[in-house]
Amino acid sequence: MPEPRVRFRGVTKRFPGMVALRDVSFDVAPGSCHAICGENGAGKSTLGRILAGVHRADEGGVEIDGAVVRFASPRDALAAGVAMVHQELAFCDNLTVADNLCLGRLPRRFGIIDERALRQCALDLLATTGAQIDPSRLMGTLSVAEQQLVQIAAAVGEGARVIIFDEPTSSLGDAEAERLYALMRALRGRGVTQLYVSHRMPEIFALCDTVTVLRDGQHVATQPVQGLTEAALVRQMIGRELGDYLPTHTAAPRGDERLRVERFSSPGRFEDVSFAVHAGEVVGLAGLVGAGRSEIARALFGLDPSVTGDVFVRRTRAVLASPRDALRLGMGFVPEDRKKQGLVLGLCARENATLPTLSRFARGGWVNRRAEHAAAASSFSRVALRAGGESAASSLSGGNQQKVVLAKWLTADSELLILDEPTRGVDVGAKAELHAWIDQRAAAGAAILLISSELPELLALASRILVLREGRLRGELSRTQASQDALLRLMAGLG
């Protein structure tokens, strides 16, 4: 192996309540396309951000071409030839493409911006990526794919030798993704080193020559892609065989119908979706990003004003115009983004757990603190929270935070739970506990709608799985029919 272009040496990074990376070391060869993969929360994005100067490592560091670098900002990284293409695009939406591309070095004549030179400079940069974008358009009017191209153009234009792609295809359509792959291959032909952060197997095998696996913030392996099988890679990512990683499923008897939706539609999100969930059942909802899974969950919880169709809760027609309506009907919702939607990080665990139901522990608006503490403590022991109820929610680990969100709906005695990616970003141990909890809730008679991007999770927990593609229900697989392969085919529309 030649002198590495990038060398991570003992990188450790801590965030409040968690260790994101622990002593990670590996090399990236020049001109390679190097995948960094791992489960959600494995630390792969954090690693990319450290290289790009967004975060700083607490211990250890990064070498580029054998020289130790310490970037204080993405600007520093860019000056050293390292750029990042990511979802939260760092552009000024209110300025034009040309302004954004040349922001740090606007061409001037006598102190006035030279618009002609600026446009030419932007066109030259965009040409390097083959992008057909008018430089005078406002950044905010571009699609995500176009914004990515502008980002890559900016990176290449700044002379980047290393480009980090952080899940670049997660919000792209197939055609757009193909164009991105072509561009990446072209960049590789020009000797640009690429780090590709993703957990999508097909992309890794199609694009990359080397792959590094991270698990729970620790380095597992760095190896050539050639000769590797998907199964072996998955094993490295989750740390054990699929079989013993998930709990045994309790086949609870199917009870009364708890939820039925008919001809559920929301323009641009999903269309004509009908299904039912019974007591004692975990119904899985599978689909690729953008297939409409989370959108259905939000609509069920009264968060989508433009939804049409009929909803029946316990066989009675229900109006779900706000989360309060849903709450009154005994529904609980564990949203996708627990930090933004699930928790009030400034409050403590107990205050979060009793937030929707505080008035139950109050008389005349006056909180009975004993009752509140007792209810929270009981819910916390039932979800096996491994932290004190008075700790600030912001200080808890991902797993404990998710347990607090679950405790919130336990306290509310919700019989109908909508769980949207309940184990995202949660470490393996906590994940197993959450799985066992979901299984036991269903066995105890709760009706659960489970949305997950992790197929093994759905396969292990769900009584049956509904598959969505492009906003429509494309099929339903019973527990016996369902397999990773069958699901993927339905999700991707491979017939």
Partner: protein, 371 residues
Amino acid sequence: MFPLGADPRADLILPRHHVTDPTSPPTLAQRAWRAALRSPQLGLLLVLFVLATALTLAAGSHVDPQSGRMINNFLNQYTLIQMATDASAFAIMGVGATLVIIAGGIDLSVGAIYALAGVVMAMVLRAAGPLPPGLTLVLGLGTCLAVSLLAGLANGTMVIGLGVHPFIITLGTMWILRGIAFVVSRAESILVPASLTAVAKAPLGLGTALYPVPLLGMLAVTAAGGIYLSRTVMGRHVFAVGGNAEASRFSGLNVPRITLGVFVLSGLTAGFAAFLGAAFYGSATSSDANGYELYVIASAVVGGASLSGGKGSAISAMLGAVLIVTMRQAIRTLHLDQNYEWIIIGTALIIAVVLDQRGAKLLTERLARDA
């Protein structure tokens, strides 16, 4: 931890703030001392204590003409009560402002609500003619609270209904309400009945020229605000909405109603302050409480309220008001040039907030290290 299922020992695993040795229960004094050390007001109290001590030492003293004893120029009952009276308007409205700020908003209109409520009360009482003292009190207080309730409702309704940032809405109503006060009063200073002044200046057993009623009003509003925030469902919801409005909505909270509630309460504190002020000084004009909104917000912020929401305390807001008034008093007591008042207060405000934020950052870093 316990396995799944209800735990019969739930009472035993109630979270505790600190571990105590069961063999020797702490004495009351020990517990008070520990509570003080943990108190979020510790920093403010220390600053106030240091400032008051320095002032006492630097102020010098004079001979009291009545008793013939030496009296400190700062640490004497007249100055302290006067300061409490000055602080009471800021503190009472500061408690209201703190609610709004915790909920993630801001209310710039409290000074104008104060002026309008005072003017309308004075006009209503003038129009009503002579009344028995009890009725004057009820009518006066009722008018002030009614006017300020309507003003708060207007603020809250517009913030919710128009979807415009509260800064803009209350900046607008700040001018509108003061303009209404100006027009209806024709810019006159209107006297209020002497029976009201008698109440506001009741000595309550203290010596002559010592008026504790504004001080008591301040303490009462602070206590009510503190209890509201820490012990009621609404109070908890205020913190939740300011901390994360989206998660609050996802938890089924009625976010618009909570927003409306804080603006109404903020208005009511202005109305109450107006009642005390007009009664105490014996008159009301449309230019009363001009610029108070900034002192009020400064009190809340010096008291640690975060303008990004989710953080703040009623007691701290009161202490913030007391601190600002103490700094103003320092300028008078030390015979500094009065023209420097704004420079000093502005500087102190920035220093206080920077110190508060640095403290929070240090705490976050420590949490990260402990992980």
